[in-house]
Symmetry: none
Subunit: 194 residues, 4 copies
DNA sequence: TATGAATGAGACTTCATTCAT
DNA sequence: AATGAATGAAGTCTCATTCAT
């Protein structure tokens, strides 16, 4: 299986593992190359710099996740269903790919992620989460009523628990099964709805 | 005021600022020494290594926070009051000390923090949060009923939002005032209580 | 016109431009290939190594210049005319081809050029300048008398100014017109003649 | 003797030798450190970068030369004497320090030197040569008359031969004695004077 | 002939830590 | 206790050259 992967994919996989395990700074390019089975210089055929590589992996993982819930959400009718499906699919995906999750989290806590976040808020970058849209639509249709709280506070009560659980799982401190995920989603729903 | 600080305190302060701002790896000891107004070698009079320094700062900040809510919680009567006061005091403190918060968060996402966490769960280290105790007490007194969820899931729905909001604030994406903090606390309370 | 050039010529042209602009070391083979519109490996079909390429360009430029003044000099009768025509044609040619001039100069200041020079003096390589011959002939014919100075000192007073002016021109610090070139040639003539 | 030199001086000396011998690019910092008898990192205690080191050496050598002829020139009365002393002292100094000469020449042909030259011409940097001043003064005093040629052409007929001779000497192709130097100076004087 | 991905030696530079003063 | 020059291992990245296609 590894034999079939192109060199770029091997590098990305190796980098994701080592960058996550040791941190962005503590994973040398030489080790990444070794693990990928390529020469040190080869990485630079595919990426301009270590920063570039780090960002490329982030983009790859984020796109993967965005594609995921875009498909999932179509199955739902009501606003609540959409929310629950969204929450479940994101958390399940994170639980199924703990490495991906830890990579994303590390990236978002790094200077890169922080400036990206700044751009998202200021509108330079598109918001990758559809959640605000789902709520707005539900309110417009008078299907739901939302608590009178700043949007970012509501989001904190949805994504905060989600990420906290994903982290516990990724670090091996709990095991998330479908039932637990669903219960957590219900709690999050209640946090937002009036 | 700075004049009164001993060299050790000056080093800790300088290190906290630079380690937070640039990340653990991107803050050289020499710069930390410069900012503290001491020679590079002097740091090693007080700390055995950079890792040592990083850990010492963590311990200092954690103790500071533990002392804080231990005092605050005494003021409360009911379980809910204790919870609300706890939530508010932690979040207010984080909001008032964004640098401290970001340091703690960075530490906990690093290899250091993760192994520390492992030790806490396995009982080698004391749990620094009194929340489980507060709930247990309330349940025992039949004052409250808790949702039938694994403890870590409940904790995720309390600390998840709390940390998410603290981060937003620390990064300057929202401004937390007392009213917002209280509302968030109420939502978290509802997440836990049956 | 570029369309008609063979790959070898395209490589030589691209290399000359980039090697001159950035220096021998700072012009990567890959960039030379890019600019020439060929693959990196193709250069090695025509040249054994970068050093080889560098030397081949030098030889090409030197031959070009030698052919030039061999033709020009036939037009002259007197020794002085030969000298003036030689000086003018060399300096005009350098002024008209600043890139060629800078390449030659860079080459001659490099280890390559220095060992080549050594070979010329020791007789292993032919002297590319006909100047000594012109003077010797004039003296033999009793047409002129030369100052009693070592040959290399005389040459320094001819080629020194010539090259200094060519450099000023190549770097854009002065503009050499025909009148200026002629005046400089006259001064050089006076430097040599008793 | 070498024992008395400070580390900075040892580095400069080692660098000057190796940079001159192999060219700026082909002399690695590690070798420079080896020859200076210091660790690789030590160079960076004294210089910020290789470029910095290269420039620092240039400045040191240029200052040395400027100090030299400023002292020498005071001995002279007439304009011609000033010129001859200047020419002789510069050429003697270059002949006595071939390494310094070759370093300066290499620097001036490099991108650094060229942009420095640009700054000198545009007035941003002071002209390090007093020659124009000497001539202007002589003309003002009606002591001499200068050929009707652009200043840069006159300078080319003075510095061109001077540098050509210094190079021949530095490369070991001729041996400059005081008599030869004086004769060359006289020829240069005639090139400039009407 | 021509390609260009891959190689890997080697360049510059950083920085935690030591130690003579 | 304090200094800060010195160390040298380790990191990122470049680039001449090769070779399977």
């Amino acid at each position: 299986m590894k034999e079939k992967m192109g060199k770029r994919d091997k590098i990305i996989k190796s980098a994701m593992i080592l960058l996550t395990k040791h941190g962005f700074h503590a994973a040398p390019m030489s080790k990444i190359a070794d693990r990928a089975g390529v020469a040190a210089g080869t990485i630079y055929t595919y990426f301009n710099s270590k920063d570039d590589l780090i960002e490329a992996i982030f983009i790859e993982l984020r796109n993967e996740m965005m594609n995921l819930y875009e498909k999932e959400i179509l199955k739902a009718d009501t606003t609540k269903d959409k929310f629950i499906i969204f929450y479940k699919s994101v958390l399940s995906h994170m639980a199924a790919n703990p490495l991906h999750f830890r990579y994303l989290e590390q990236y978002q806590n790094s200077p890169y992620g922080i400036s990206l976040r700044r751009d998202t808020l200021s509108g330079k970058e598109a918001d990758p989460s559809p959640l605000s849209g789902i709520f707005r639509e539900g309110v417009a249709k008078k299907e739901i009523e939302i608590k009178d709280l700043p949007n970012q506070v509501l989001m904190a009560h949805v994504f905060g628990p989600l990420i906290a659980l994903a982290r516990e799982h990724a670090l091996g401190f709990i095991r998330l099964d479908d039932k637990t995920i669903l219960m957590s989603a219900e709690v999050a729903w209640l946090s937002v709805i009036k």
